[in-house]
């Protein structure tokens, strides 16, 4: 793996002001994205995955959203705190973005071709005619048949899978360094999912893309990612290489997620669930966010927030403290750092 860091996020915190008080949607999130690799951010709905990546480009509604702390540097250039004009030099040009539901993420009254051409015209100063030619090439790259005809059609004339391809063509139009894919396959059926993932993989190789992939599907993570960050209640609770996460899980929440994954053989058995629900982020618990649902909870966990333990493979759990009782999970971090 190359160690060249493309995007570094440090101590990011995002709040939303609401009538009921402020929701701390993202709390102290740090990660690094290496060139040509895929970082997967996993977690259940509402854990702050999308807010994390959207806040990097100022795409969360502000107000009520507010970035209260942290920094995000694209090759050393700070993104947070930039005005809309300055941010527009990054949006779409150096960081591309794919959204979950391509049907609602594309303008219903504008042709697919025009929507892709628009970003080319704005960022590269291409003429409209040159942009049209480039759109045909791009649609060909994402394997849309008959690009000349398809580019003149509107989103409602496309199938779901084709729309997501068009969305991908749009996001890579200006050859960005980073591609943020926010649940790109969630709205698609399984065969189309596989095709889209394959397309992303091949584009990553041909364009040298660094991808942040947001998903709640561990199958997608295993297939696509080299690095994984597991988010829970606005925090990263565990991060490491894909092998660390799958084979040496060091956080009880990750274990719960893995257990909840439907296995091949177990289709007759009932699905495992993690009992309880995530904490209220209006008033995040003083201690560990997972303590109320954790099978390994200790008295300490209720009122003391655990830091991240470990170096390359990190977990936010008191079990890894030197003074904690010896627990099988503890061996996992040690095993990772030893390897």
């Amino acid at each position: 793996m190359s160690s060249e860091v493309v995007l570094a996020v440090d101590n990011l915190a995002v709040e939303f002001a609401t009538w009921g008080g402020s929701v701390q949607a993202v709390r102290d999130v740090s990660f690094k994205l290496h060139k040509g690799t895929t970082l997967a951010i996993v977690g259940e709905s509402g854990c702050g995955k999308s807010v994390t990546v959207q806040s990097l480009l100022g795409l969360i509604p502000m107000p009520p959203g507010r970035i209260t702390a942290g920094s995000a540097r694209l090759r050393g250039e700070e993104l947070l705190g930039l005005g809309a004009k300055a941010l527009n030099r990054y949006r779409g040009k150096r960081i591309g973005m794919i959204f979950q539901d391509a049907m609602s993420a594309l303008n219903p009254t504008m042709t697919i071709g025009d929507q892709i051409a628009e970003t080319l015209i704005v960022h590269t100063g291409m003429s409209a005619a040159a942009a049209r030619q480039e759109v045909i090439t791009l649609l060909g790259q994402v394997q849309i048949p008959e690009p000349e005809r398809r580019m003149r059609q509107y989103p409602f004339e496309f199938s779901g899978g084709m729309l997501q391809r068009a969305m991908i063509a749009l996001s890579i139009a200006c050859q960005p360094e980073v591609l943020i894919a926010d649940e790109p396959t969630t709205a698609l059926d399984v065969t189309i999912q596989a095709q889209i993932l394959q397309l992303l993989e091949s584009l990553q190789k041909s364009h040298g893309l660094s991808i942040i992939l947001i998903t709640h599907d561990l199958g997608v993570v295993a297939r696509m990612a080299q690095e994984v960050a597991v988010m829970y209640a606005g925090q990263i609770v565990e991060q490491g290489s894909v092998d660390d996460i799958f084979y040496r899980s060091a956080h009880p929440y990750t274990l719960g997620l893995k257990a909840a994954m439907p296995g091949k053989a177990a289709h007759k058995a009932q699905l495992q669930v993690i009992p309880g629900s995530p904490p209220d982020l209006f008033a995040p618990p003083a201690g560990c966010g997972f303590h109320a649902r954790c099978p390994h909870v200790m008295q300490l966990c209720e009122s003391n927030a655990p830091p991240l333990f470990g170096t390359t493979h990190q977990a936010r759990c008191w079990l890894h403290h030197a003074a904690a009782p010896v627990h099988p999970l503890r061996q996992q971090l040690i095993a990772s750092s030893g390897s």
Partner: protein
């Protein structure tokens, strides 16, 4: 697109027939008749008159005559004004009403879209609050009040400058059309402003606007090429019916500014139970409204590609 237009026109003809029939039935249900007077009329004279106007025939026969004549564009002769063809009343006075109506619709649309966009873009800041105060005034104050205020304004303006900048009343040249059409269009403008504001805000929260921002487009470009077109669609839908409100609602404004429009005849005819004039003007206004709704629908098809293709299938 063509089959869509043909279908819309077919529905339009059916609607007009319904309006004509409903008007006919309603009029014959109203007590009294155009020949009723306070003084007793000699029954012979009365019978003669009824014969001349065809009122002695059974209602069904009258209906058939009425519809057949209408198909030939003949609305008959006025019962109360001697020797005046309804056709002539309409052709003489409708152009004036139409001019007034279309001009006020132009002001209403322009103002509505413009002010609606401004309020949405400056949401919860002072331009928004200021315009919304005027919108509430525009919706709630009846237009005869605005008409009087408008005249007062012209009067003061002319007084201060010492010349006639705008005429106070009458219908002669663009200057005289300006104030009445503004007054007439005011409530529609207020309504459209509110509608435009709501749809602009709705569109601003959609996923495709977020995509447009993620593409790195400037706010102006997002507004012009993504937000406006999607936000304007509901406005186009209400334009057709708005024409009806404006052309028929013009009666008050027409009388305050002494404009020789059709509205006056429309109202007078109802008061005098002038069968032919009522039927003629109602059917004519109805047909005009139907036509305008069709025009709005066709326009809508041009703005929204989804309807265009749906109709082509």
């Amino acid at each position: 697109m063509l089959s869509y237009i043909v279908k819309r026109f077919g529905m339009g003809v059916l609607t007009i027939w319904f309006i004509a029939t409903a008007t006919f039935v309603a009029m014959h249900l109203v007590p009294g008749n155009p020949l009723a007077q306070e003084k007793a009329v000699n029954p012979v004279i009365r019978a003669n008159l009824e014969k001349q106007y065809g009122l002695d025939k059974p209602v069904t026969t009258q209906y058939i005559i009425y519809i057949t004549n209408m198909l030939h564009g003949d609305f008959g002769i006025s019962y109360t004004q001697e020797n005046r063809f309804v056709k002539d009343i309409i052709s003489e006075h409708f152009p004036v009403s139409a001019e007034l109506g279309l001009l006020s619709l132009f002001f209403a649309t322009l103002g509505g879209v413009l002010f609606g966009a401004i309020t949405a873009l400056s949401r919860n800041r002072w331009p928004d609050h200021l315009i919304m105060v005027f919108v509430i005034l525009g919706v709630s104050v009846p237009n005869f009040v605005f008409a009087a205020l408008g005249q007062l304004l012209i009067l003061k303006l002319n007084g201060w400058t010492g010349t006639t900048i705008l005429p106070i009343a009458g219908w002669d040249g663009f200057g005289s059309m300006l104030m009445p059409s503004l007054v007439l269009g005011l409530s529609t403008m207020a309504y459209l402003t509110r509608l435009m504001r709501a749809t602009m805000l709705e569109v601003a929260g959609t996923d495709y606007i977020r995509t447009a921002r993620a593409k790195g487009l400037s706010t102006t470009r997002i507004f012009l090429s993504h937000q406006l077109r999607n936000a304007i669609m509901p406005v186009i839908t209400v334009l057709g019916p708005a024409i009806a409100i404006i052309t028929t609602g013009g009666f008050v404004v027409e009388s305050v500014f002494t404009i020789p429009g059709l509205g006056r005849y429309f109202v007078q005819a109802v008061q005098q139970l002038d069968y032919t004039v009522i039927m003629g003007t109602t059917v004519f206004f109805g047909a005009f409204l139907v036509l305008m709704v069709i025009v709005a629908d066709i326009l809508y098809g041009f703005v929204d590609p989804r309807i265009r293709v749906e109709a082509g299938r």
